[in-house]
Amino acid sequence: MDALIEKLKGQIIEQLNLAEVKPEEINPDSPLFGEGLGLDSIDALELIVLLEKHYGIKIQDPKDGKTIFQSLRTMAEYIKSQGKS
């Protein structure tokens, strides 16, 4: 799980152009949206693309994104649960 979280950090920083964020600054349990990393609605859509591109997971209902993208850990758990890590 930790390896997957580390990998996700790199992918998120790259895909979302978080140039001023270092991987070690991201707490796996902090919220990704709102005060945490300060991601916005476009980032949420971009995370859906990330899951499809890198993990072959299609989120059919973007509303599910809310729970999946709570934190890095919930994201990693979701990927595991889909058997795609």
């Binding site: 916005d40 609605s41 476009i42 859509l45 859906i48 693309v49 973007p62």
Partner: protein, 379 residues
């Protein structure tokens, strides 16, 4: 006084304003389910029939040398020049071309005999300039989904400055995989016919259209509607590049500006109404904040889908027709109130005599625009 006058609409509902108005007033809708090779399930778009285009473009000399958008634009502008009799070669005539993506299909390599550089919007302008022998280089405006109505507002400003007497404003955009795939990645497309302002709206239908209107200071050219553009404004939400302001700030600012000297009763508001959850919600809030709760509202996206750069021109034209025919156009797709702002939707076609209306639009980049049109008191 600056008048909104002769015009044309080319869309899935017809190649003239008359055909379009008749279709809409008979509740004919232009959106249909189409299966695209790049999507698993079909979804609704408003596409102009290729056979119809073939029939009409034959009249254009050497029509194969033009892209689809150029062909439709030539037909549309030509119709308005013929109706009005204005001289395109005059020093006092200008073309403003409003578009979001122009010849974007050139980027998809679908044309055999078209130079790839035609994807540049200035090249599109050059084609139209040389076809009609416009004296001035066309002014091209690309300001997302407010391009059409902003083009009309800018035409008024240029005429007021004394630069021109007649400004043709042509708004046009075509359906392309480029825009469809992009809006799809935004999860903004509806598979079913869209439902502006309805509780069950899920998103946009994309559409294609070209619409042209003559804006003029010549009273003798104002005959079709005897209607002036009273005021127009644009404003930015300064909030987010894709999501509209939750409080409708930019649109509210536009409405306040255009209504500040208004003393006529507004017959209705032709809203942007794309049928995305956020857009329609934002508009309803702005309308309520501007004190327009009791003014009937429609969105024409239920008939045409979202025609991007054409939308503001096309919707202005149909609003002028609606005022002329003394009949409000039903907001197609609307059934159940689904926005939190207190507004009054037009639920069926209904007779109404009125002398003024508002056209609004909002788009990516946080932009908003609104204009007020009013019938001139004829002596």
């Amino acid at each position: 006084m600056i008048f909104a006058s002769y015009n044309n609409i080319i869309s899935p509902l017809g190649f003239s304003t008359k055909e379009n108005y008749e279709a809409v007033s008979n509740s004919v809708i232009g959106v249909k389910k189409i299966k695209f090779p790049f999507s698993e399930d079909p979804f609704c778009v408003a596409k102009i029939d290729d056979e119809q285009i073939k029939q009409h473009v034959k009249t254009i000399e050497n029509y194969v040398s033009y892209t689809k958008l150029e062909q439709l634009s030539i037909l549309s502008i030509q119709d308005v020049i013929q109706q009005s009799g204005i001289n395109p070669e005059s020093e006092r005539t200008l073309l403003i071309y409003s578009t979001t993506k122009g010849n974007i299909d050139v980027l998809e390599n679908i044309y055999k005999h078209i130079d790839p550089k035609r994807v540049y919007l200035s090249e599109l302008g050059k084609q139209l300039q040389s076809f009609f022998k416009f004296k001035h280089t066309p002014v091209i405006l690309s300001n997302a989904c407010i391009s059409g109505i902003l083009g009309i507002i800018i035409a008024k400003r240029f005429i007021e400055q004394g630069l021109y007497d007649n400004v043709l404003v042509c708004g046009g955009d075509i359906l392309s995989e480029f825009t469809i795939s992009g809006f799809k990645s935004f999860n903004a497309l509806s598979h079913e016919p869209s439902k502006p302002f309805d509780a069950n709206r899920v998103g946009i239908n994309l559409g294609e259209a070209v619409s042209t209107i003559l804006i003029t200071n010549k009273k003798e050219l104002a005959v079709p509607y005897d209607t002036e553009i009273v005021s127009g404004a644009s404003a930015n939400d300064a909030n987010h590049i894709s999501g509209p302001s939750r409080t409708g700030d930019g649109l509210y600012q536009c409405l306040t500006e255009i209504l500040k000297t208004n003393n006529s009763e507004i017959g209705f508001i032709s809203a942007h109404g794309t049928a995305t959850p956020f857009n329609d919600e934002m508009e309803s809030i702005a309308f309520e904040r501007a004190g327009l709760t009791s003014i009937p509202v429609n969105s024409l996206k239920g008939y045409y889908g979202h025609t991007l750069g054409a939308a503001g021109v096309l919707e202005t034209v149909l609003s002028l027709e609606s005022m002329k025919h003394k009949r409000l156009i039903k907001s197609e797709g609307y059934e159940v109130q689904g926005v939190s702002g207190n507004i009054t939707m037009i639920e069926k076609h209904e007779p109404k005599t009125f002398t003024a209306f508002i056209k609004t639009a909002s788009g990516f980049g946080g932009c908003n625009a609104a204009a007020l049109f009013r019938k001139v008191k004829t002596v």
